[in-house]
C-alpha cells in the first residue's frame, strides 16, 4: 500500500496555516474561513480514505493488522540513534486521524459562525490549522522523538488558542499556566525519552513495541532504586502523558484553559489534544504491559482511576458550565487511562485497551458536541454561569436536543455511544481490578448526575431575565451540532474490537448483561437525582450542600490544588528562589567583581602617594634602593 499520500493530511493544514498566518492582514475574514474549512475537508476525506484503505483494502496480514511505516532521517545523534520523521499507520493512528479530522472539521465549520465579527478571525483559523497540523503529526509519529516534537507543537498551539483573547488577563494567565504545567510534565517526558534512547537504544515505536525485541526482553538489565530503568523511563513518559491529559496532579491547567474560545475548548481541550496522553500510553502499550510485569501500567490505572473520581466530584459543585465540562473531560480521560491500565495483551485480554480507544473515540464525539452546545448557549446568553441560565429549551431547540443526546451518551444510557464504550471499560476493570471497578461505577453515577445538573440548569428550571431574548444560533453552528449528535448516537455500533486491539488480531466483543445493567441503573439513578434536585427551582441542592459543609467547600475550591501550586510557584520559586538568585547575582557575584574593581581603585589611590612627583622623595628611594641592593649583592650572594 502506497501511503505517501498520507503526508498530505498534515501538510494541507500546515499550508493553510502558512497561507493565513503570513497574509492575515490581506485575506478577508469570509475568505479565510472558507480556506480553513476547505483545507480541512480535504484532509478529512483523505483520513477516511486512509481508514478504508488500511482496514479493508490492506487488511489483515496473517490475521494481524500490521503497522505500515514510512520514515526518513531528520537528524542524526550518533551512528545508531537518530530522529526520524515519518508515518506510522496502524489501527489507533488511523482511528485518531478520523477523530482529529472529524472534530476539527466540525469545529472549523462551527467557528465560522461562532467567531463571526471577531478581530482576529483569520488568525483564529490560522491557529486552528496549526493545531490540526500538529495533532495529525502527533498521531502519525513513528518514534518517541517525533511524538515529542509534535507534542510540543500542540502544546504551543494550545497556548496560542487559550490566549486568543490576549487582552484579557485571565486568558493570559490561563494560557501561561497551561503551557508551563504541561511543559513541566514534558520535562519528565523528555527525561523518559532520553532514558529510552540510552537503555533501549532506539526511539522507534516499532522496535520498542516488539514483544520479542531487545527493548522489552532486556528490561531487567539495569535497575535504579529497585525498579528497572525502563520502568522509570515509562513512568516518566507517562508523566508527560499525564500532563497533557490532565491527570492528577497536573490537571490544574485544564479548567483554566476554558478561557479560550469555546470551539477551541471543544477541539483541543475535550476531543483531541488532551487525549494525546492516553494515545501515548496506548502507543507504547506493549512496553507498559511487558516491562516489569506491567508495574508502570498499574500506576497508570490507579492514576487514571483516582483522577476520574476526583474530577467527577469537583464537577458536581462547579457553576461555570465550561468548567463542569472541563472536569468532566478530566474524569473521562481518567476513565480511559484506567481502562488502559487494567488491560491485558493477547486476544480478549486486550479488552481494556480496546475499550479505552473506543471510549476515546466516542468521548471525542459527544464531548465535542457538549462543548459546541455549551458554546451555542453561551453565544445566546453571553455568560458562562449557570445562574444566568434557565428555561432555554424554548429558545434553543436544536441545541437542547443535541445537548440532551450528548448528555445521555456520556451518562452511558443505551443506545447512545457512551454506553457501549463505558460498558467495555467496566468489564475490563471488573475482570482485573475490583477496586477500580467500583470507582468506575461510582464515577459513572456522578457523571450522569452532574451532567444532568447542568442540562436541567440550562434548559429547564426558571427563566432568567435576559437582556435580549436568546435565539438559536446560525446554521453554521447548528449543522455541526446535528452531525455530531448523529455521530454520538451512531458510533457506538462500530465493532471496535474487530479493529483495535493490542495485538492487532481482533476479537468478538459481547455485552456483559449483568454489568451493563448495573451501569445503566447507576446512570439512571444519577439522572433521577439530578431531576429531583434541579428540574424545578428549589432549595434541595443548597440544603444538601450545606449538609456536606467543609467537604463541599473543599470540593468547591477543587481541593485547593490551585492554591498549593500557586504557593509553590509564586512563594517558593518566584519570590524565594528566583528573587534570591537575582539578589545573589547582584550583590554577591556582581558585588565581588565590583569589589575587586573598587579595591583596585582604592589601593591605587593609596599607592599614588608614593609617586609624589617630588624629586627628593625619588632620590631618597633611589639611594635607599641602591644601598639595599648593594647590601643584597654583597652579603647575600649565593655562592
Amino acid at each position: 500500500m502506497d501511503i505517501r499520500y498520507i503526508y498530505l493530511i498534515p501538510f494541507i493544514p500546515l499550508a493553510v496555516f502558512l497561507l493565513l498566518g503570513l497574509n492575515y492582514k490581506r485575506i478577508k475574514p469570509s475568505v479565510s474561513g472558507y480556506i480553513g474549512v476547505f483545507g480541512l475537508l480535504v484532509s478529512t476525506v483523505l483520513s477516511y480514505y486512509t481508514a478504508y484503505q488500511y482496514f479493508f483494502v490492506h487488511g489483515k496480514v496473517n490475521g494481524i493488522y500490521k503497522p505500515i511505516i514510512d520514515r526518513h532521517i531528520w537528524m542524526n545523534f550518533t551512528d545508531t540513534l537518530s530522529i526520524d520523521m515519518g508515518l506510522y499507520i496502524d489501527a489507533i493512528s488511523v482511528m485518531m486521524l478520523i477523530v482529529v479530522s472529524t472534530i476539527s472539521l466540525m469545529v472549523h465549520i462551527y467557528s465560522r459562525g461562532y467567531m463571526k465579527g471577531d478581530d482576529g478571525y483569520t488568525k483564529f483559523f490560522a491557529f486552528l490549522s496549526l493545531f490540526t497540523f500538529s495533532m495529525f503529526g502527533l498521531v502519525l509519529s513513528t518514534n518517541l522523538f517525533q511524538i515529542y516534537i509534535f507534542w510540543e507543537l500542540v502544546g504551543v498551539s494550545s497556548f496560542l488558542l487559550i490566549g486568543y483573547y490576549y487582552t484579557k488577563p485571565s486568558a493570559i494567565a490561563a494560557a501561561k499556566k497551561a503551557f508551563i504545567v504541561t511543559r513541566f510534565a514534558d520535562f519528565g517526558f523528555l527525561i523518559g525519552i532520553l532514558i529510552m534512547g540510552y537503555y533501549a537504544g532506539t526511539f522507534d515505536f516499532e522496535m520498542l513495541n516488539n514483544p520479542e525485541g531487545s527493548a522489552i526482553l532486556n528490561w531487567a538489565s539495569t535497575s535504579f532504586m529497585g525498579l528497572s530503568v525502563i520502568t522509570w523511563g515509562l513512568l516518566l513518559i507517562f508523566v508527560g502523558g499525564a500532563g497533557k491529559s490532565a491527570m492528577m496532579p497536573f490537571h490544574i491547567w485544564l479548567p483554566d484553559a476554558m478561557e479560550g474560545p469555546t470551539p477551541v475548548s471543544a477541539l483541543i481541550h475535550a476531543a483531541t489534544m488532551v487525549v494525546a496522553g492516553v494515545y501515548l500510553v496506548a502507543r507504547l502499550f506493549p512496553m507498559f504491559y511487558f516491562v516489569e510485569e506491567g508495574f508502570a501500567l498499574s500506576i497508570v490505572a490507579y492514576v487514571g482511576g483516582i483522577s476520574s473520581l476526583f474530577a467527577a466530584v469537583i464537577a458536581i459543585t462547579q457553576t461555570d458550565i465550561k468548567r463542569v465540562l472541563a472536569f468532566s473531560t478530566m474524569s473521562q480521560l481518567g476513565y480511559m487511562m484506567m481502562a488502559l491500565g487494567v488491560s491485558g495483551y493477547d486476544g480478549h485480554e486486550g479488552v481494556g485497551y480496546m475499550a479505552s480507544m473506543f471510549h476515546l473515540f466516542t468521548h471525542a464525539m459527544f464531548k465535542a458536541l457538549l462543548f459546541l452546545g455549551a458554546g451555542s448557549v453561551i453565544h445566546a446568553v453571553h455568560s458562562n454561569y449557570l445562574k444566568d441560565m434557565g428555561g432555554l429549551r424554548k429558545y434553543l431547540p436544536v441545541t437542547n436536543i443535541t445537548f440532551l443526546i450528548a448528555a445521555l451518551a456520556i451518562a452511558g444510557i443505551p443506545p447512545f455511544a457512551g454506553f457501549w464504550s463505558k460498558d467495555e471499560i467496566l468489564v475490563a476493570a471488573f475482570e482485573n481490578n475490583q477496586l477500580l471497578y467500583y470507582i468506575g461505577v461510582f464515577v459513572a453515577g456522578l457523571t450522569a448526575f452532574y451532567m444532568f445538573r447542568i442540562y436541567f440548569g440550562i434548559f429547564w428550571g426558571k427563566e432568567k431575565q435576559y437582556d435580549h431574548p436568546p435565539h438559536e444560533s446560525a446554521a453554521s453552528m447548528t449543522v455541526p451540532l446535528m452531525i455530531l449528535g448523529a455521530l454520538s448516537v451512531g458510533v457506538g455500533f462500530i465493532p471496535f474490537s474487530e479493529f483495535v486491539t493490542p495485538d492487532g488480531k481482533g476479537f468478538e466483543a459481547h455485552l456483559n448483561y449483568p454489568l451493563a445493567a448495573i451501569a445503566v441503573a447507576v446512570g439512571i439513578m444519577g439522572i433521577a437525582l439530578a431531576w429531583v434536585f434541579y428540574k424545578k427551582e428549589n432549595n434541595l441542592a443548597n440544603t444538601y450542600a450545606k449538609r456536606f459543609g467543609v467537604f463541599y467547600k473543599w470540593v468547591y475550591h477543587k481541593f485547593y490544588f490551585d492554591e498549593i501550586y500557586l504557593f509553590i510557584t509564586k512563594k517558593i520559586l518566584f519570590n524565594g528562589v528566583a528573587a534570591s538568585v537575582a539578589l545573589f547575582d547582584k550583590k554577591v557575584v556582581d558585588g565581588t567583581m565590583n569589589q575587586i574593581g573598587n579595591k583596585t581603585v582604592f589601593t591605587s589611590e593609596k599607592i599614588k602617594g608614593i609617586q609624589s612627583g617630588k624629586l627628593q622623595d625619588y632620590a631618597l628611594a633611589f639611594v635607599g634602593g641602591v644601598v639595599v641592593l648593594v647590601m643584597i649583592f654583597i652579603y647575600f650572594r649565593a655562592e
Binding site: 532521517i73 531528520w74 537528524m75 542524526n76 545523534f77 550518533t78 540513534l81 530522529i83 522523538f145 515529542y148 516534537i149 509534535f150 510540543e152 507543537l153 504551543v156 497556548f159 490566549g163 490576549y166 487582552t167 488577563p169 493570559i172 494567565a173 494560557a175 501561561k176 503551557f179 508551563i180 511543559r183 513541566f184 514534558d186 520535562f187 523528555l190 527525561i191 532520553l194 532514558i195 534512547g197 540510552y198 520559586l573 518566584f574 528562589v577 528566583a578 528573587a579 538568585v581 537575582a582 547575582d585 557575584v589 556582581d590 565581588t592 567583581m593 565590583n594 574593581g597
Partner: protein, 495 residues
Amino acid sequence: MDILTLFIVVPIITIVVLVFSKGLKQARVISMIGSLVQLGMAINLVFAYFREREINQDIMVFTKDSVWFKTFNIHYNVGVDGVSVALLLLTSVVVLAGVFISWKIKELPKEFFISLLVLSTGVYGFFISIDLFTMFVFYEIAVIPMYLLIGIWGTGPREYSAMKLTIMLMGASAVLLVGILGIYFNSNPDGSALTFNILEIAQVNIPFEAQKLFFPLVFIGFAVLGALFPFHTWSPDGHASAPTAVSMLHAGVLMKLGGYGVFRVAMFLLPEGALTWSNFFIVLSVIGVIYGAFGAIKQKDLKYINAYSSVSHLGLVLFALLMLNKTAWNGAILQSLSHGLMTALFFALIGMIYGRTGTRDITKLGGLLKVIPVISATYVIAGLASLGLPGFSGFVAEMNIFVGAFQQENPFHRVATIISVSVIVVTAVYILRVVGIMLMGPVKNKKHLTLQRVTWYEKTGIVLLLIPIIGMGVAPLWLSDMILESLQPFIKGLI
C-alpha cells in the same frame, strides 16, 4: 587571493571605503554592500566546502600558511572545517542584520559602522585561524571595539558597563594568553621547533602535568566570553548599555568565540587536562544554566532578561562541551548557532521596542501585540524558539545536547544532565512571563497606541534572522551532519 583570506580583506576594504564616506546615507549603504558581499561569500563557502570535502579528507580544508613573525614561529595560518564554516555563516548573517537594524543610527554613523566592521573582522579572523597566536590577535581585535561601541553609542551607565566588560574580558584574555603560551612552550617535547599551529600541536603529546596546569587557564580564558558562572556579570550590564546592533553582534557572535575557543583549543590540545577538570567545570556550567534561568525570571529590564537567558543558554554550550562526546558537541555548536541567531533577533526586537516606547521596563509596557503586531509576533516566535520549541533551531540544539549528555553513564553526569534538562521548564516560565506582561494584556500606556509600525529595514533584519532559525529547526540534517563529520578528529583524544 584564497577564499578565506577574503573574509578578512573584504571588511577591511569596506572600512577603508567607509573612511572616505560622508554622512549616514553613504555609510550605511557601504556597510550594507560590504556585509552583503560577506554573506554571499559565506554562502559560497558552504557550497565550496561541500565540494572540497568530497575530494579532501583533511581536518581543515582551504588551508593557507605564511609566516608573519619568524622569531616565535607565528604563522598566518588559516583553514576551515564544518564547524567554522557554520559559524562564519552565522557571523555574516548577524552582521548584515545588525547593519539593517542600525539603519537610522544618529550619532557618528561612520565611526559606528567602522567599529562594527572592525569587530566583525576580528570575529571572522578568529574563526578561520589555525594558529594559536593569530587567533588570539583576532580575538583581541574583536573585543576591543566593544569598549568604544558601548562607551560612545551606549545608553544608561555606559562608561561603567563598557569598563566592566572590557576589564573582565581583558582579564580573561590575560589568563588565556598565559594558557596559550603554556601550550606553546610545551609544544615540542621531542625538541623540535616550538609552534603555535593547532594541528601540529595536536600531533604531539603535551605532558600531563602541563595539561593539568594549563587547561583551566585556557578554559576560563575562553569561557568568560561564554559567560561562565561566576564570570558572567559583565554580560547583563554590558548588554543593557550597548546599542542594539552591538548587543546583537556581541551576544550573537562574540560570545560564541568562547565556546568555539574551548572546543578548538582547550579540548583539542589538552584532552587529558579536559578529562581531569571536566567535573569541576561541569558543576560551574550547570550552576550557570539554572542560575541564569532563575535570574531571568525576576528581571524587569528586557535586556537583562535576555542577558541572563544568554548566560543560561551559553551555560548549556559549555556543559555540552564538557560532556566530551560527539553528540553533545554537535549540540554545543548547534546551540551556539541557534543562540546566536535567537539572541540577535531578541536584541533587535528589544531595540525596536525601546526605540518606539522609550522604555525597556516590562512592567511599563503592555498590549504591544495590538499596536506593533509584526514586532510583537516576532518576539513571540523568538521566545518560542528560545524555549526550545520544535521547528526552531533551539530544539535541535538542545536535543543534541541532552541526548549527548545522557551518553555519560555515571551518576554525577546523570544528575547534572537532569538538572540542566529542567531548564526547559524555567525557560518557559520567564519567556512566557515577558510575553504575558509585555505583549499581551491591555495597553497600559495611552501613548503607546500610536507607535510607528515596523519599517522595511527592520523587517529585512528580522527576516534575515528568522529564516536560518526556522531553516535550522525544520531541516537540520545537512547542518548537523556537516558539523558532526568535522568533530571526529577533535574528539579522538578524549575517548
